[in-house]
Symmetry: C2
Subunit: 332 residues, 2 copies
Amino acid sequence: MGKKAIIAIDAMGGDNAPFEIVKGSIEAVNQKDIEIILVGDESKIARELKSYSYDPSKLSIVHASEVIDMEEAPVIAIRKKKDSSMVVGLNLLKDKKADAFISAGSTGALLAGGTFLVGRIKGVERPALAPLIPNKTGFSLLIDCGANMDSKPSYLSQFAQMGSIYMENIMGVSNPKVGLINVGVEKEKGNQLTKEAYSLMEELDINFMGNIEARDIPYGRADVIVCDAFTGNIILKYTEGFGLSLFDIIKEELMGSTLSKIGALLSKSAFKRIKHRFDYTEYGGAPMLGLQGLVIKAHGSSNSKAIFSAICQGIQFKEQKIVEQIEQRINQ
Amino acid sequence: MGKKAIIAIDAMGGDNAPFEIVKGSIEAVNQKDIEIILVGDESKIARELKSYSYDPSKLSIVHASEVIDMEEAPVIAIRKKKDSSMVVGLNLLKDKKADAFISAGSTGALLAGGTFLVGRIKGVERPALAPLIPNKTGFSLLIDCGANMDSKPSYLSQFAQMGSIYMENIMGVSNPKVGLINVGVEKEKGNQLTKEAYSLMEELDINFMGNIEARDIPYGRADVIVCDAFTGNIILKYTEGFGLSLFDIIKEELMGSTLSKIGALLSKSAFKRIKHRFDYTEYGGAPMLGLQGLVIKAHGSSNSKAIFSAICQGIQFKEQKIVEQIEQRINQ
């Protein structure tokens, strides 16, 4: 591959495919020095592309006749649907025909496909899925939220390294603070896994701040939050459910009286700003780290802006030579 | 012990001791057919009691010369401070001189003391701490948030039974829905622990609804939420931190413009109602289940209302014969 980043994109994945996917891709093609490969139903993609003007040498289509549905069993879907947009796209990464692959499709299938189809970086024990979660001052990287349900201390130690590299090089956080999620801040706290992981993480060449408690997450005390995938999944889904339900409750109570209804009306712009602070589209998607190339899980409801952001992550990933950085750090 | 519930209370524990503790106790003495034992510094308690009129035959003081501080290492504190209000109170439970012991002091010390000093119910493998956490429609019992950091499937299965009995008999939830916290609703999802726990829980004589995801917690889909203590601790502390930080953000943004400031003023009563929906004082405290008697961890900032509610939990515990119910269910 040359110097220019080549980003493959699942044109069929997510709630708004292919319209928003193609739209975001075109915006990137017109603004960035990259090459985009749209993977999916050729005729559908071509129809979308007609609405835009762009440099055709920077964009190509790789046809895929199938689509993996959200409801399909991930491992079976990846094995059976060999001509799906997801499998074809992941193979582009495997064959070094792309630097990154972005999909807003099934998380489970993408995790399974990433693990089975794309090779791991030498020395990496398990790839990790690392979404950005909102906090009071910005976003933190929550690593791992992937498929490894029973983690080993050495996995967590590698997650800390990969997460730190990603936040520093892709998200521009200098010397990112790395915290281990635990039930107390003292070193001796926690379960067998976190106790052993703590000892390993102390030895790393990262800005390890020790344990952090879950109550510190929303305050953004750590830039990289390390945990096993079971815990990560709980935190991620609780964040989603808690936020939604709390806004439901606020809405319910504000609509409870005429006075507070007027109050809500006057506060509309404030609530808009609050919503903006939780806007994931600014950050594109969740990287899957540890593979030969970047796999990005974009939110299922991604709009063009989210896709554009994910593409920018992919460009950075190539430019900053993240694969090489991870390989070097893990094996040193 | 007779038919009347005898509730021992740590008069020295928590931020508002002894004032709010004594006040709540007097309210209970004046309204309920019970006996209260206040444990702690006799002269300080006696001084507080002077402000109230009550039937002295229903209230006694057991002197304890020491207090366990929040900062002390729990196990050491319990071992060393044998004349602390907490140790003396727990020994009243152990010696069957009380049916319940309530403390707003150090959670760690209470867990350690509960485990070491008060006997377990026959057949119970591990006692569990089970706080009530707020949701959109009320509260759910989160079991376990205690000290067992590495849980076994059989512990979780027992937590499900004890939690179900508590919610039904003490909190008045008929046929409580019991959910196992997991990363997906399907039976085969999760880590080794949850997969094996699921199989055990299916066999129980409870209303087991299967796995629930963390996003369902805030909607109150389960009355009893079963998990290992590591996960429970994460959920509990995240709930606290997330709620606080979100209200901080809302406040910050509402104060951002004159218009929204007026809006906030008009919405004041709505926000008061929201706060009330999260008011833990209605529910007293977190029961520690599986012991020969009830240990209740009251919130550190408990006021008299919270203490009163905790006392009512203790009365119910005695009346509903919870120790006997747990013993029977666990060993059937």
